[in-house]
């Protein structure tokens, strides 16, 4: 049996571990465009900020690939996929055959159509290579504009600011972190960043990147007419699934590669996992691309197990979650955070501006379906339990949660017995 995995992010690692749990013998080949063995991708913000060195980037110990008997083909781009003959064509002309294939190609930065965006001085922040480039240019420039106030944009901004640059974030939405956060939490983070000295322009867009006669960047012009001087622009609007080679091979695609609950695509023996996959989400009860780290690992793991043929197990479904800190202000958000009115959710919030603490709980049909915590995040996991296991809530228990007192003793007796203290693990 030969397993081929395209991509070397965390979904790829999950797949290796899922396969090796059940099949110690089969060949595993990992093909990756990147030149480095797997690394903790979110760590690139810690690297850019100078908090950790290259030596701490790796996600698994040295010798991981050898130990798991994995053949690595780094710096190799997949240019073709033939699901009939079950072969991949690589950019160096090589052809690789598979019995089972996993597409874990992740996402690529979305580049909006902005005048002047093409040319030098434009950067992204999704790979270690990007982080190394930014660290390098940070030594030679003084001002940078970051387009996009999502998690990636804010982290790029923070890292560049820590390198002594003057940084301005331009966000189209009315607040930063629009997807993972709500107004109150977004504003708390904005304030923290502004207090540190970062510039933030919400509700605005870059209309044009201004360039000098030699092509170098002088600044950007916003829709408001304001001109912000800078020598470089980081585009961090979001990532879109990297659909090469799935698209050309005719796989069923909507936003991402469509997979069933077993992570299997529309093509025989081809699976997909991570930021490229469009899969079932346990809270929204629909299929969507949930480009977050734990989801990618877990999809990879289930895909790996299912690829061995020794198991046929449904993935429990994605659950959006983000934990991130901004200059010592920790935050956590999970599940449904900004429910649409038709979801008929009950929302409960508590805020203490002075202590920089915020808690938002989202209930639907007497279940907790999401939360946002800013500042005091110590109980995050206890709230997660209520979402993950969809534990029923009486009025009394709900009140305890609302009062910031979640506890395992609020679990139904049966759930406590079977999950906390099972007779068999």
């Amino acid at each position: 049996m030969t397993y081929v995995i395209v991509g070397n992010g965390v979904a790829s690692v999950g797949a290796i571990e899922g396969i090796r749990k059940l099949d110690k013998e089969g060949n595993i080949v990992v093909v990756s465009e990147e030149n480095t063995p797997t690394y903790g991708r979110p760590l690139i913000s810690y690297f850019l900020a100078g908090k950790i060195g290259l030596d701490r980037m790796s996600l698994r110990p040295d010798g991981y690939y050898e130990k798991n008997n994995v053949e690595l083909k780094l710096g190799s781009r997949v240019v073709g996929l033939d699901t009939g003959s079950k072969t991949l064509a690589l950019s160096n002309g090589e052809s690789v055959s598979y019995d089972k294939l996993l597409l874990a190609t992740g996402g690529v930065p979305f580049m909006p159509p902005i005048k002047g965006l093409e040319g030098p001085g434009i950067y992204n922040f999704t790979t270690l290579a990007h982080a190394e480039i930014l660290l390098d240019i940070a030594q030679n420039i003084r001002n940078v504009v970051v387009i996009g106030g999502g998690l990636i944009g804010l982290k790029a901004a923070e890292g560049l600011f820590d390198n002594g640059l003057k940084v301005t974030i331009v966000e189209l939405g009315p607040r930063v972190l629009s997807a993972a956060f709500d107004d109150v939490a977004g504003k708390m983070v904005s304030r923290r960043l502004e207090t540190e000295g970062l510039g933030i322009r919400c509700g605005s867009t870059v209309e044009e990147v201004l360039r000098g006669p030699s092509g170098g960047i002088n600044g950007v012009r916003l829709a408001s007419g304001e001109i912000i001087a800078c020598e470089a622009v980081v585009v961090a609007i979001g990532v879109v699934p990297s659909l090469t080679p799935a698209k050309e091979a005719g796989l069923n695609i909507r936003r991402g590669i469509k997979v069933d609950e077993f992570l299997h695509t529309s093509a025989e023996d081809v699976y997909a996992a991570g930021d490229v996959a469009e899969a079932y989400d346990m809270i929204t009860d629909d299929v969507r691309v949930t480009p977050i780290w734990p989801n990618a690992y877990s999809q990879g793991y289930y895909a790996g197990m299912n690829m061995t043929g020794k198991k046929h197990e449904k993935h429990p479904g994605g659950l959006a979650m983000n934990a991130i800190s901004f200059y010592g202000l920790p935050t956590a958000s999970l599940g449904m955070v900004n429910p649409a009115p038709e979801e008929d959710c009950e929302i409960c919030t508590y805020a203490d501006e002075e202590k920089q603490t915020y808690r938002k709980l989202v209930f639907r049909n007497d279940r907790l379906v999401g939360y946002v915590l800013v500042g005091d995040i110590d109980f995050a996991g206890l709230y997660t339990g209520f979402v993950r296991f969809q534990l029923p809530l009486s009025d009394e228990i709900k009140q305890e949660l609302k009062d910031g007192r979640p506890s395992a003793l609020l679990w139904p007796e049966h759930d406590f017995e079977t999950r906390w203290t099972p007779d068999h693990e």
Binding site: G40, P42, S407, A408, R419
Partner: protein
């Protein structure tokens, strides 16, 4: 593998398990110094005692078969040890992103606020029996293979 199992029927909510845990994970291995001095500099017990009316229970990391914390860890600090089955933690790798703290549905991971790193039960590495189990005066914690 052997795990620590709590028994609500026996727990009297005395918090002695927390103190035993604190001492076992302290530098000084001395209860008074651990509580008075080391706690002030960030040391926390890996256990937490929960109370609801007359019912109480002492909980800590379950060392799950498929742990959510390992799935969520971005730095490789948390991993599953194949031989022992334990969910292990390498503090030197931790960057304090708190992803595991959020992902663990059992709420079993805590923060060391001074170090900016997590605290998690290691089943008392190097001891025969975890300190909490040894210290419990009413056998409300057992260390067994179920």
């Amino acid at each position: 593998m052997r795990r620590v199992y709590p028994n609500k029927d026996f727990c009297i909510g005395c918090h002695i398990c927390e103190l035993a845990c604190l001492t076992a994970h302290s530098e000084s291995k001395d209860l008074i110094i651990a509580v008075r001095e080391e706690q002030a500099s960030g040391l926390r017990p890996c256990k937490a005692v929960y109370e609801k009316g007359p019912v109480c229970v002492s909980l800590s990391c379950r060392h799950c078969e498929n742990p959510s914390c390992v799935t969520a860890c971005i730095s490789g600090a948390l991993y599953k040890d194949e031989e022992s089955g334990k969910t292990k933690y390498d503090e030197s790798q931790c960057v304090g992103c708190w992803s595991c703290l959020m992902a663990c549905p059992f709420g079993a991971i805590r923060r060391n606020p001074s170090k900016g790193k997590i605290i998690k039960c290691d089943l008392c590495e190097g001891r025969d029996k975890p300190a909490c189990v040894e210290a419990c005066p009413n056998a409300a914690l057992s260390y067994e293979d179920r």
